[in-house]
């Protein structure tokens, strides 16, 4: 039985159709990549999945819990990292993590341990009493990632977690995602980094103009795109998202 089930999901912003009849099944412990051009509907899909946006129609179930019907129950199982996570700049790193842990219902004892271990693994121990406003972008991203998983969610929804990070931070974030997967956490990873998608995600969905144009592992995507058996994901992606009659390479 899939852990995340999306059925005929549609989201309209006025006359704009941001998501058009999207259906997906994601299994437990899977890393699921989400690719698509800018404005394709990736962030809208993720925000709807985590209960921030209300669907115009369709259903989303996390472990059989409908996120629209029982949002608080479903949110306990999800950790969400937005594309541009903003933090409370007037709180210290420790205060911020304590606050987030508390509003996500983490037990005091567990929260202390989780914060200490996470700060240590991201090399942020020295910054525990620094105001978040004084941290670098990479450090803020690490703090946001820690906040995302403080309550040990079963599902992680990460929207472009590697954007604008330096190589060192990218490595530590990728390691962090890998470690979570080993623990059996289901991860939905939206990214523009096709290498990351190819190396980390078991299955990938390609979304364009609010529609899922292809879903599968890299082999099946190659077949769908009628690409060579050793074609890179980049070529597959360009073929699948090309307009009719348009040369995918020129695009």
């Amino acid at each position: 039985m899939p852990q995340i089930s999306v059925e005929r999901l549609t989201k309209h912003y006025g006359t704009l159709v941001a998501l058009d009849n999207v259906s997906l099944d994601i299994g437990s412990g899977e890393i699921f990549g989400l690719l698509g051009p800018n404005g394709a509907g990736k962030s809208t899909l993720l925000k709807t999945l985590v209960g921030i946006l209300r669907p115009t129609s369709g259903t989303i179930r996390i472990d059989e819990i409908d996120i629209v019907v029982e949002p608080e129950k479903a949110k306990r199982m999800i950790g969400y990292l937005p594309e541009n996570p903003s933090l409370y700049t007037g709180l210290t790193t420790l205060e911020f993590l304590q606050f987030v842990g508390k509003i996500r219902g983490v037990d005091d004892e567990l929260l202390d341990r989780e914060i200490s271990e996470s700060l240590k693994s991201f090399g942020l121990e020295e910054k525990r009493n620094s105001l978040l406003g004084s941290l670098s972008k990479g450090m803020k991203q690490k703090v946001a990632l820690i906040a995302t998983s403080l309550h040990n969610p079963e599902v992680l929804v990460l929207d472009e977690p590697l954007t604008a990070l330096d190589p060192k931070t990218r490595v530590s974030v990728k390691d962090w995602i890998g470690a979570r997967t080993k623990r059996g956490v289901t991860t939905i990873l939206s990214t523009h980094d096709l290498d990351v998608a190819q190396s980390h995600a078991g299955r990938i969905a390609i979304i364009d103009h609010g529609k899922i144009v292809a879903v599968g592992d890299i082999e099946s995507l190659r077949k769908m795109a009628r690409a060579e058996s050793d074609a890179r994901l980049e070529d597959v992606f360009l073929r699948l998202t090309a307009e009719k009659g348009e040369d995918p390479i020129l695009k």
């Binding site: 925000k47 985590v50 209960g51 921030i52 946006l53 209300r54 949002p71 608080e72 129950k73 949110k75 306990r76 999800i78 950790g79 969400y80 937005p82 541009n84 996570p85 903003s86 933090l87 409370y88 700049t89 007037g90 709180l91 210290t92 420790l94 205060e95 304590q98 606050f99 987030v100 842990g101 508390k102 509003i103 996500r104 219902g105 005091d108 929260l111 202390d112 525990r128 009493n129 620094s130 105001l131 406003g133 004084s134 906040a147």
Partner: protein, 531 residues
């Protein structure tokens, strides 16, 4: 210096600055400030008439007011904001082959233009009110307004010069220099107070006229009050222009070098903190979720200087109310204590109206918490300091009022209701402020609205907020107005019971109104689709 480049820069900055939304906002803002200026100036004139203030003391009051403006600009000068720049300036203007001096010239021109445009209408109305009172005629008011505008431009130049000088070794000792400057301005501006001490030579007070604020106040107030000192005014005017030219030349000279690195780039929504490291005060161990939410809010308020701003505003408010009380308006019009309701009550809406910008919606909306409850807890945390500052103000104004109405029990009831009523109204308008912020305020992360759309949303929010808050508090005002009639019809014997029951009714109503507004605020946050 190429005037052509300055012209191009100013033209495009003006295009960016004065959008349709800005002009609508300007019109609304100017209307409200004109109403406030008319009210404030009438209060001051009644006060000066009652207390017998001389024109000389009015000049001192004007000089002190202008000194506060100067102090603010000195501070922003030392903060590196004397020449305000944004990230677009850094990205596009500073990387273009434009000499820094021309950037300085264009910035000064734009700032002066903005100040004159925004400042002239209320200043003109102020002097027109004074000239009508002293029967000196409108041309004099226009002249006085222009003199004050010259002073405002001098302030801008001073602030810019201070910022430019930060790159010349002054940066390391800027706190010392800043304090020195501010102390000097305040001490010299306060010298005329010595006029109140007998046998102190008047020449000491004259020293305040050395500074631009003293000169501007002397000329402007003197002109509208009809003091005939033509030669002295000409000398003062020359000195004032001397300051203007002096600061301008200094700025032109300082802007010859490369000064971009000393400028503080303004980032919308960014907050400044004194120290990058703080001791972590939010210990959640053993605390309930909602107590942690309140504590987090209190920490943010204290670290973002909101509490300090609240204190300063409360000081100004109490000062104004004391002047109002002393002006005799309460005595001359017994029902005018309703004024307290409006002034103290309106204090509430301002303090919480930007709360949503400080929130991080992605965290809240991806957490399993009730938004209605969350908003209520934030409100509780914000209400405490508001009442902490407003209660002493209300008591200070209320005690003399109660004492003056002791002989008229029916009027006394109105006063007794108005005092807690003022705090209730402040609490309701604060809840209203939070609701409208939840509905229209821009959140921290998403730029779903362009700045122009946000400006229009802010204007709409301001107007709706004013109307809805007035509707929500009107039952409390009506209660105060009706109390006199109720007291007269029921007789003095039933006054204590009547007072107690009316106070309870007003408290219950306030609680109901606050609950409705906060529930709507929570729902508005839940419905938002931005982060």
């Amino acid at each position: 210096m190429s005037l052509g480049t300055i012209g191009v820069l100013v033209r495009y900055w003006v295009k960016g600055r004065f959008t349709k939304a800005t002009l609508v906002g300007l019109a609304v803002g100017e209307t409200f400030s004109i109403v406030f200026v008319l009210f404030g100036s009438s209060t001051y004139l009644s006060f000066s008439n009652r207390v017998g203030l001389t024109t000389g003391l009015s000049e001192v009051a004007g000089s002190l007011l202008l000194a506060l403006y100067l102090v603010g600009l000195i501070q922003s000068g030392f903060n590196g904001s004397g020449l305000p720049v944004n990230s677009s300036d850094v990205d596009y203007v500073f990387t273009s082959p434009v000499p820094p001096r021309e950037v300085f010239g264009a910035k000064i021109l734009l700032n002066s233009l903005t100040t004159v445009l925004f400042g002239f209408p209320p200043i003109l109305v102020l002097y027109l009110r004074f000239s009508a009172y002293y029967r000196t005629g409108w041309p004099v008011a226009i002249l006085a307004g222009m003199v004050t505008l010259v002073f405002l431009v001098i302030g801008l130049l001073l602030s810019a010069d201070i910022t430019l000088s930060l790159g010349r070794g002054i940066g390391q000792r800027k706190k010392l220099w800043r304090n020195l400057f501010i102390t000097l301005v305040l001490v010299i501006s306060l010298l005329p107070i010595t006029l109140l001490i007998p046998e102190v030579p008047g020449v000491i007070a004259e020293a305040a006229r050395i500074l631009p604020n003293g000169l501007a106040a002397t000329i402007s107030v003197g002109l509208v009050s009809g003091t005939s000192r033509t030669i002295a005014y000409l000398v003062d005017l020359l000195l004032l222009f001397g300051w203007l030219v002096g600061f301008l030349l200094l700025g032109v000279r300082l802007s010859r070098g490369h000064f971009y690195e000393v400028l503080e780039v303004s980032v919308p929504g960014a907050e400044k903190f004194d120290e990058p490291s703080q001791s972590s005060r939010l210990n959640p161990r053993g605390r309930s979720l909602w107590s942690v939410v309140r504590l987090k809010e209190r920490i943010l308020i204290s670290r973002t200087r909101e509490a300090r701003a609240l204190f300063v505003n409360a000081m100004f408010l109490s000062g104004f109310l004391v002047i109002y009380a002393l002006s005799g308006s309460f005595q001359s019009s017994p029902t005018s204590f309703l004024f307290i309701l409006f002034i103290i009550g309106s204090f509430g809406s301002g303090t919480a109206s930007r709360w949503i910008e400080k929130e991080r919606l992605w965290i809240l909306k991806s957490s399993p918490v009730s938004m209605r409850r969350y908003v209520k807890e934030v409100y509780r945390a914000r209400l405490a300091p508001l009442l902490f500052y407003l209660t002493p103000v209300t008591v200070a104004v209320g005690v003399p009022l109660v004492l003056s109405q002791l002989g008229q029990p029916s009027l006394l009831l109105g006063v007794v209701l108005a005092l807690p009523g003022a705090l209730e109204i402040a609490s309701i308008t604060m809840a209203g402020g939070m609701y409208f912020a939840s509905k229209y305020g821009q959140s921290s992360a998403d730029d779903i609205l362009s700045s122009q759309a946000q400006e229009l949303a802010d204007i709409r929010r301001f107007l709706f907020q004013t109307v809805i808050n007035l509707i929500m508090v009107s039952p409390l005002i009506l209660l105060v107005l009706a109390s006199e009639r109720l007291a007269s019809s029921l007789g003095p014997g039933s006054l204590p019971a009547l007072a107690a029951s009316l106070v309870i009714v007003s408290i219950v109503f306030a609680g109901f109104a606050i609950n409705v507004l906060l529930n709507k605020a929570g729902d508005a946050v839940s419905r938002r689709e931005d982060l």
